[in-house]
């Protein structure tokens, strides 16, 4: 198999999906990296479940303020135009359809766009956090993840074996080997990583992929 993209390149590809002026929520993990790779001149406003809109980059050492954190507990820097609010208001923004794009990690995504990202059954307990609200409320959900799990098993599946975060909520999947669109007709392979063929992507994907007529190579 050809080489896979690293986490930064996945994030870089996702960043291209954020429209000018969009209100965006970035989940923990690869999604958090997305803000570093916004195309020059593009302005988006970031929302965090911790109760802040329009926050700045991650704080460096010595810059930490314990009252300015993101949903993962990381310290943020202030930025002009930032706003604080309580969690009911923060989730009103999510549930009320005011978040244009949510970028989330996933354990599994099904061919119907079902998302599973909160619980590994073997653990017996899991963290939901804001994931179910984002799955239900964001106008567009983009999943950013590795294409297969640590054991090499496909994460893009016919049906999610893990407990669901939200049914049919995912619009786009960006992985270390491909960009895949989810629609009522199923999954469409839009882009492949450099060196990858559609057949090679399908081999590590359980669900069936239709190949887009204008299939492209992922660009950064």
């Amino acid at each position: 198999m050809p080489e896979r993209l690293d986490r930064e390149l996945i994030a870089m590809r996702v960043a291209q999906e954020l429209p000018e002026g969009a209100y965006v929520n970035l989940g923990i993990g690869i999604p958090t990296l997305v803000s570093q790779f916004l195309p020059p001149g593009r302005t988006v406003v970031y929302h965090s479940e911790s109760g802040v809109l329009g926050y700045g980059p991650l704080a460096g050492q010595g810059q930490e303020d314990i009252d300015l954190i993101n949903a993962g507990g990381q310290f943020l820097l202030p930025t002009p135009g930032m706003a604080f609010f309580n969690s009911a208001e923060g989730f009103a923004m999510v549930r009320g359809g005011h978040i244009d794009v949510a970028v989330m990690g996933a354990f599994q995504v099904s061919e119907k766009g079902d998302l599973a990202n909160w619980m590994l059954p073997a653990r017996g307990v899991g963290n939901i956090g804001g994931a179910m609200d984002l799955a239900a409320g964001a106008r567009r959900v983009i999943v950013a993840m590795e294409h297969t799990d640590p054991q090499g098993k496909p994460k893009i599946v016919r049906r999610c074996a893990y407990p669901i975060t939200g049914p049919g909520c995912v619009s786009l999947i960006v992985t270390d080997v491909a960009v895949i669109e989810v629609s009522p007709a199923g999954l469409t392979l839009l882009e492949v990583a450099p060196g990858w063929s559609p057949r090679e992507v399908q081999e590590i994907t359980e669900a069936h992929l239709s190949v887009a007529r204008d299939l492209r190579e992922m660009g950064f």
Binding site: P78, G81, M82, A83, E89, A92, H98
Partner: protein, 231 residues
């Protein structure tokens, strides 16, 4: 990313016939988006549904306020088909407002909602909550035709969210990102309605650069606001 629009006329130019519009309208002129209302009168859109605490307050002239305008002018101008309000008529039956005269003639519809229920329905609309139960109105005419369910021994009424095509907001300060602050009691319905419309337009005293309103002082985050017009 700059949400400032240069005129009130431009800000309301795309309000079509039949639009659903939220606007404040408590007991005083402070919270009224007076210039947006005048621009809507000039725009001439008809068959409107107005969601507001009142249905027009005609008596502001006596207060010496510069522009004594409320949604009363829209009623008088025959632009309104339906009102959703908690306090639609004058406190004094002897001095009916334009709404009441139209209502008597069967020319306008009214959906009456208790004030707290109205506020909560608007909040629910903005917050993606389609419906909720409230003890308010149970056992009264307001509950007629609605589902009533008992929680912890109390009868509660099922009420549905309200959403609008446009919200006309009267705020004090804005920054160019659409963050807003209000003065005093003029926050009351304005800060809710800002969250519950597809297109929220704010009429403000002052527009500042981002950071001009501090992060703790912003009352309506810019995510809810599409257009800003300075008075």
């Amino acid at each position: 990313m700059n949400k400032v629009v240069s005129s009130f006329a431009e800000a309301v130019a795309d309000v079509p016939d039949g639009a659903v519009i939220m606007m404040d309208g408590f007991g005083g002129p402070g919270g009224m988006p007076q210039h947006l209302i005048l621009a809507l009168r000039d725009n001439g859109a008809k068959g409107l549904t107005i969601i507001s605490n009142t249905a027009g307050l005609p008596d502001f002239g006596s207060l010496g306020v510069a522009v004594a305008v409320t949604h009363n002018v829209l009623m008088e101008n025959g632009q309104v088909r339906k009102v959703i309000a908690s306090f639609p008529v004058s406190a004094s039956p002897a001095r009916p407002n334009a709404f009441e005269l139209l209502y008597r003639e069967g020319k306008i519809e009214l959906e009456l909602s208790p004030q707290g229920t109205l506020a909560e329905r608007i909040r629910a609309g903005g917050a993606g909550i389609p419906a909720f139960y409230t003890p308010t109105g149970a056992g009264t005419p307001v509950a007629q035709g609605k589902e009533v369910r008992t929680f912890n021994g109390r009868a509660c009424v099922l009420e549905h969210a309200l959403l609008a095509d446009f919200a006309f907001i009267r705020a004090h300060q804005a920054d160019t990102l659409g963050n807003l602050s209000y003065r005093g009691t003029s926050r009351n319905f304005n800060a809710l309605m800002a969250t519950a419309a597809r297109i929220t337009i704010a009429e403000v005293d002052e527009v500042m650069e981002p950071g001009g309103i501090g992060p703790e002082a912003i009352m309506t985050p810019g995510i809810y606001v599409k257009r800003i017009v300075k008075r």
